[in-house]
């Protein structure tokens, strides 16, 4: 595997990556390997960002100090669960609170959030923008929440969130705010630019959806456009177990399914009622085979390769990997982490077969893998 793909990874991550990217790995074997991959625990992340602060006592103290009404015993149990890897906080607010408890800088908080959730600091979200200001000023969590009440505009001044504003612009502007007054004024003035939604992700989402809505361009019979339901059924919905059975799943499988988009969520994303999340974006990337448009020109030459030493399968994988990371990065999301079970499956799916007759795309790989992971027979063996 080229050095540029694994450069910067730890040894464990590199091994996990190489396992996922092994050539011609069957879905069955992949599922077995997945079971052995040491998933990155919350505790690992805590230790990475604040090795000194991440002691159990200090965490419990911090949590109780932020909210005296919390039961210490209850907080202690929670923290023990975190540190043992049994579970991790999923609520965004909990993660933001931890940033204050761990006394992270803004940049560290950004990376911490990215590592523990789908994305780093969401700069266009007024709340998180305020929290970033508070972190920069060295405030505590209670001070930050109090600040929120003072600076967030009371009226809903933004009449319509524009999809044209991008996070990077807001991030630059917000970095120059010095006082509470400036922050408040900025939140008032920059109303339309702010919002909780990832605009770039939404743009990418609509592009993927438009590809999936139109059936194969060279089909002899004219087919109607796919509906959202059909898209989900065809590409995203598989023989998932019932809610009751999901409880039987191990952490890895549960993690894979968490936040899986279904028809309602997808429709709401399409209409802009809810934000496009990272998992949906990744799944649509796989479903569209890396965003490939179907054309009549089958002689399309994607890669320029004078020597012809690298196979198309290898080049395809590398291209898909780098483009997916580029997409995630540009949308403000965390790039692929081979120690995340879901991301590991994604990396496996990107590695299409080297056999040209197999006619295997990313979407087919995903279907196969999900079939293996979530079939009734595989659950019975759990």
């Amino acid at each position: 595997m080229p050095e540029d793909m694994t450069g910067g990874m730890t040894v464990i991550s590199k091994r996990a990556f190489e396992n996922a990217a092994a050539l011609d790995l069957s879905a069955g074997n992949a599922a077995q390997i997945l079971a052995t991959i040491p998933a990155r625990s919350f505790s690992d992340i805590l230790m990475r960002f604040a090795p000194e602060e991440a002691g159990r006592e200090k965490l419990v103290d911090g949590l109780c100090g932020n909210d005296p009404s919390r039961s210490r015993a209850s907080m202690d149990k929670k923290v023990r669960g975190w540190l043992s890897g049994k579970y991790q906080p999923t609520a965004r607010e909990d993660l933001l609170e931890l940033c204050f408890i761990l006394k992270l800088s803004v940049e560290e908080a950004d990376a911490f959030l990215a590592a523990t959730s789908e994305e780093g600091m969401h700069w266009r979200d007024p709340k998180e923008l305020t929290y970033a200001f508070a972190l920069r000023k060295g405030m505590t969590y209670p001070e930050a929440t109090a600040l929120l009440t003072r600076v967030i505009p009371k009226e809903n001044v933004k009449t319509k969130e524009t999809r044209e504003a991008f996070t990077s612009v807001v991030q630059r502007e917000a970095a120059g705010l010095e006082t509470e007054g400036e922050l408040k004024q900025y939140l008032l003035d920059a109303g339309e630019k702010l919002g909780t939604f990832h605009n770039r992700a939404y743009q990418q989402f609509t592009e993927f959806l438009s590809l999936l809505e139109q059936p194969h361009a060279v089909s002899v019979e004219k087919e109607d456009n796919f509906t959202v339901r059909r898209i989900v059924e065809t590409y995203l919905d598989n023989r998932f177990p019932s809610d009751w059975d999901k409880k039987k799943l191990d952490d890895k499988r549960r993690g894979i399914l968490a936040g899986w988009p279904e028809e309602v969520a997808l429709s709401r994303m399409k209409t802009g009622k809810i934000d496009v999340n990272r998992k949906t974006l990744i799944l649509l990337f796989l479903a569209t085979d890396g965003g490939e448009e179907i054309t009549d020109d089958w002689q399309e030459d994607v890669y320029w390769d004078e020597d012809g030493e690298e196979s198309d399968a290898d080049a395809d994988f590398r291209s898909s990997y780098i483009r997916m990371n580029q997409m995630l990065s540009s949308c403000g999301y965390r790039m692929l982490d081979p120690r995340s079970p879901f991301d590991w499956v994604v990396i496996y799916c990107l590695r299409v077969s080297s056999d040209p007759d197999a006619m295997e795309g990313l979407s087919e790989r995903l279907s196969e893998m999900l079939e293996v992971l979530f079939s009734a027979s595989s659950l019975e063996t759990e």
Binding site: P2, E3, D4, M5, G7, G8, R136, S168, E173, A175, G176, L177, E178, E182, Y186, R200, Q203, Q204, E207, D289, G290, G291, E292, E293, D297, Q299, E300, D301, V302, Y303, W304, D305, G308, A315, R318, S319, S320, I322, R323, N325, Q326, M327, S329, S330, M335
Partner: protein, 956 residues
């Protein structure tokens, strides 16, 4: 928010030796603010130097770095780290700039000096009057594609300076590319070196500071895959700049996330561009913007090479695969557009099936599969055989026309070259035909250079992964039509077949001996094909077996159907000749729809002129142009007005004026050849050089026969006309003859007497000649005077008595002419000639004796004088003898019977050459010449008579 306060206009910065004044604010970046400034020239106080001043002033959103009093840049403890980082970056940018300037002083803007002041540092830069590319474009594409290409190449020239020193710029974008100068002098400069890193620093991850600009930043920078950062990273950004010049904005992140990189095909600059240009733009953008670093251009040189090729495709210059592809399609499209007779090629659905069978294994293929087979299997050239009219030319032309309109670098270019124009040209006819379609850049000056470049191009097959195919598939048409000695052509074919990038298909009726080829054969149509085609037009299959077989040839089938359509009836023909005749008639009828005159003119064009053209072409062995055809056509026109042609073509009687019209010869030529035969009826084809040839060889053969028949008709008509005249003349001659015979005919002399007299005249002439020879010998000292005198007497006998008697009798007879010559006889001169030798025998001895005395006495002076006079005498007498013979015998030599003539010639053998070879002047007539000779003789005699030696006594 950026609260950094810029220095106000008018601020003074007193650098050592250079007091600068801030004139304006230019812009700011993450670590600097840039101003326009000036300073006075030391010597010319009223002159200013214009400069740029770059002030280190890092942006710190926390306010830890700010402008203090007196313009100083202040920082507190919390801003110190940021300050240090940017200071390093600022100084490094300057360091790189200076290093590169030292190597390429003219290629980068000047960096004059750097000074510490105001607790910061200032760098003084040249103000080169530049403008940023971003402002130049202002959100729109460049003014034209060529400008965009050249600017991109110049950007690469600048970037190459960095790469040569192993530096990467890593912040190439529209706002960091400046344009300096205008037009051809314009160059591109890169600025802002704050992100410049060496490759080693990147590999070691030392002090990495990257700028990220959407659309310009390569994926490996954006995703932190630093191991992939190299020259290709900068070239990604350069391609993004090129893309922005094509579309007015860089590629979007969405576009870059797709599997296929954006290809800029929707750029308005490509709206009217040929396919080869569009494909090259696609290649450049796709390669340059590829997500994988190692698949992009590895170096500035590699990208420049593709940009140069793009420029060549824009201008149509150069010998490249794309140029050959373009030229091949273009030449056939022009040929078809120019010749109405070829428009059928564009109606693919109406073409008859073309099938080819390989001779080596009997495999039968459709035309497309056959050509694909030829393209993919390198080897000997392929000879495509077939009888006349079977569709060989159609197959080749159709192959070119059916190539996809979108250029592909992975398939062979295809070119069609007709061989009927072949002529010896140093063994490069085929190459030169290809070169004719191409244009060349400044590096290719001579034809030889061009041939070399083309041969090199054809020596390289197209290779893609494990497959290869020829760069060019060359279709040579009509090997059997190449006239003259084709040894040179065959040698060239053999030589070209060695080139690994070239495959050939040669169409011919027959295979020339000794040419190594693989053979394939165009098959005749099946009965089913014929029936289908006829049935489509409601036509019946002929009953005649020969005709049915004939219709299996596509040309004949086509003529059959067109004839039927033209006649609006079933065709009743039984032979090829009848069919062609009927077809030509239909064409004339079709022309007749425009009126009677048009009909007759078409008839004349088809039945008289075209056959003459066919014959002329056959005779010349090549196509004919307007100049060479004009005279033949004008001759035909002249014939039309004559009664001769009216007899040969009675149907045109009374319509000659309609046919010839009242126009000049050139205008009539234009009507007949260019308008009717070429454009309207499509019976002639015309190529690029303006040369015509008959549409098909079968038609040509038929027309040549027609021309032969026309000539026979004309001759016959002429003969008939001449015969009538001859008869009339003969009758008149008879009457005259009768009159002549009865009253006017001269009477001949007696033949025997005539012969005797002329024989005697010859004898006497010969004797006179022998006397002359003796006198010459005397004067030359070859014989003695005694010998000479003896010979003079020997040859000085009088004419025989019988001859004299005969002469008298003839004079007294009623005869007036010599019987065999029918010419009058010159008696007077004959008498003179007969008496000449005797007269010399009487007069010459005295001269001889005198000369002898002079010889003995050694009187040199007297001798010379005497000899001259004597010589004059004998020359005059010799001329006289020659002239008398001319007058007496010469007129009667013609008409002599063979026997007599032979005797005469035998008699002449005795005549000395010195006598026979005389050439007196006859320009004023024989009589005058004789008179003059006599005068000369008399004069010489008088001169001699005055010499005393004559009178001296001497013994005999």
């Amino acid at each position: 928010m950026d609260h950094r306060a810029a220095l106000p206009v008018g601020s003074e910065l007193s650098f050592p030796g250079m007091a600068c004044r801030i004139e304006g604010y230019l812009g700011r970046g993450s670590n600097a603010i840039v101003y326009e400034a000036s300073y006075q020239d030391t010597t010319s106080q009223n002159r200013k130097h214009r400069i740029l001043v770059k002030e280190l002033f890092p942006f710190d959103g926390h306010g830890h770095i700010w402008r203090g009093e007196n313009g100083a840049v202040r920082r507190d403890a919390e801003g110190e780290e940021l300050w240090r980082t940017h200071l390093l970056s600022f100084e490094r940018g300057n360091d790189v700039h200076l290093q590169l300037l030292a190597l390429q002083p003219g290629r980068l803007g000047g960096n004059i000096n750097t000074f510490p002041m105001n607790d910061t540092i200032y760098t003084i830069l040249d103000d080169s009057g530049s403008r940023s590319l971003e402002k130049e474009l202002a959100g729109k594409p460049a003014r034209d594609l060529r400008t965009a290409v050249i600017r991109c190449m110049r950007l690469l020239d600048c970037l190459e300076i960095f790469h040569r020193q192993d530096f990467l710029h890593l912040d190439i974008s529209l706002d960091n590319a400046l344009l300096i100068g205008e037009g051809e002098q314009e160059r591109v400069m890169l600025i802002d070196y704050n992100s410049v890193h060496s490759r080693a620093e990147i590999q070691n991850k030392e002090a990495l500071y990257f700028s990220a600009k959407e659309g310009f930043t390569a994926p490996e920078v954006q995703t932190g895959m630093y191991q992939g950062i190299s020259f290709c990273t900068d070239l990604f950004s350069v391609t993004a700049v090129f893309y922005a010049m094509l579309l007015g904005k860089p590629p979007s992140v969405l576009q870059l996330n797709r599997k296929n990189p954006p290809d800029a095909q929707d750029s308005p600059l490509l709206a009217d561009a040929p396919s080869t240009v569009r494909e090259q733009v696609k290649k450049i953008t796709r390669r340059g913007l590829c997500a994988l670093p190692d698949k992009r251009y590895p170096s500035c040189a590699a990208m420049k090479k593709d940009l140069e090729e793009l420029l060549n495709r824009l201008t149509g210059l150069g010998v490249s695969h794309a140029a050959l592809w373009e030229a091949g399609r273009r030449s056939v499209q022009r040929l078809v557009k120019r010749n109405p007779s070829l428009t059928y090629l564009e109606k693919e659905a109406e073409l008859y099936p073309l099938r080819v069978t390989w001779e080596e294994n009997g495999e039968a293929l459709g035309l497309d599969a056959f050509m694909e087979d030829v393209s993919t299997h390198r080897g000997l050239p392929v000879l495509l055989e077939g009888v006349g009219g079977i569709g060989k030319s159609t197959a080749l032309l159709r192959t070119v026309l059916s190539t996809p309109s979108a250029y592909s670098a992975r398939n062979p270019a295809i070119m069609y070259v007709p061989l009927y124009e072949w002529r010896e040209s140093g063994g490069h006819f085929i190459l030169d035909q290809i070169l004719r379609e191409l244009r060349f850049d400044a590096n290719t000056r001579t034809v030889e250079d061009a041939r070399h470049v083309l041969t090199e191009q054809l020596s390289k097959p197209i290779s893609y992964k494990n497959e290869s195919c020829p760069a060019l598939l060359l279709l040579l048409d009509g090997l059997n039509e190449a006239a003259g000695d084709t040894a040179g052509l065959l040698r060239e074919i053999e030589r070209l077949s060695q080139l690994s990038g070239l495959s050939m298909v040669i169409a011919s009726r027959v295979c020339p001996d000794g040419l190594p080829v693989r053979k394939a054969r165009l098959d005749l149509l099946t009965d089913g094909d014929v029936q289908t085609a006829l049935g489509h037009h409601g036509l019946l299959l002929p009953e005649n077996g020969e005709m049915r077989e004939l219709l299996r040839t596509p040309l004949m089938l086509s003529l059959f159907i067109q004839t039927a359509i033209g006649q609006n009836a079933q065709v009743q023909c039984e032979t090829e000749k009848q069919l062609v005749d009927a077809y030509l008639s239909v064409l004339c009828d079709k022309a007749g729809q425009d009126g009677q005159q048009a009909r007759y003119q078409a008839e004349a064009a088809v039945r008289l002129i075209l056959p003459a053209i066919a014959q002329a072409a056959r005779k010349q062995g090549a196509s004919l142009n307007d100049q060479s055809l004009l005279s033949a056509v004008v001759r035909c026109r002249k014939m039309i007005d004559t009664r001769t042609l009216a007899r040969a073509f009675p149907e045109w009687i009374g319509h000659g004026a309609e046919i010839t019209g009242d126009v000049s010869d050139e205008a009539w030529y234009g009507l007949m050849v260019q308008d009717i035969l070429w454009k309207r009826l499509g019976l002639l084809m015309r190529d690029e050089t303006g040369a015509y040839h008959i549409r098909h060889q079968i038609l040509q053969e038929h027309l040549i026969q027609l021309n032969t028949a026309n000539r026979a008709s004309v001759r016959k008509a002429r003969f008939r006309t001449g015969a009538v005249c001859a008869i009339a003349l003969s009758c008149l001659a008879c009457v005259l003859l009768l009159c002549y015979e009865l009253w006017l005919k001269p009477k001949p002399y007696d033949e025997t007497m005539s012969a005797l007299v002329l024989d005697t005249a010859l004898t006497q002439y010969t004797c006179a000649g022998l006397q002359y020879e003796a006198m010459v010998s005397l004067l030359d000292g070859k014989i003695s005077p005694e010998t000479c005198a003896s010979e003079i007497r020997q040859w000085g006998l009088p004419a025989s008595l019988s001859a004299q008697t005969a002469l008298n009798a003839m004079q007294e007879s009623e005869g007036t002419v010599i019987p065999w010559s029918n010419a009058a006889f010159d008696f007077e001169r004959c008498l003179s000639l007969l008496a000449l030798p005797q007269m010399r025998a009487e007069s010459y001895p005295a001269y001889i004796r005198a000369y002898g005395r002079l010889l003995k006495d050694s009187r040199a002076e007297e001798k010379a004088e005497f000899a001259a006079a004597l010589s004059e005498l004998i020359e005059a007498d010799a001329d006289l003898a020659w002239l008398l013979d001319r007058a007496v015998s010469y007129p009667h030599i013609t008409g002599m019977q063979e026997e007599r003539k032979m005797a005469y010639e035998i008699g002449l053998l005795s005549l000395p050459a010195v006598q026979e070879s005389r050439s007196p002047d006859l320009s004023r007539g024989l009589d005058y010449a004789i008179q003059k000779a006599e005068e000369r003789s008399r004069e010489a005699q008088r001169t001699l008579a005055k010499m005393p030696v004559i009178y001296e006594e001497g013994t005999e």
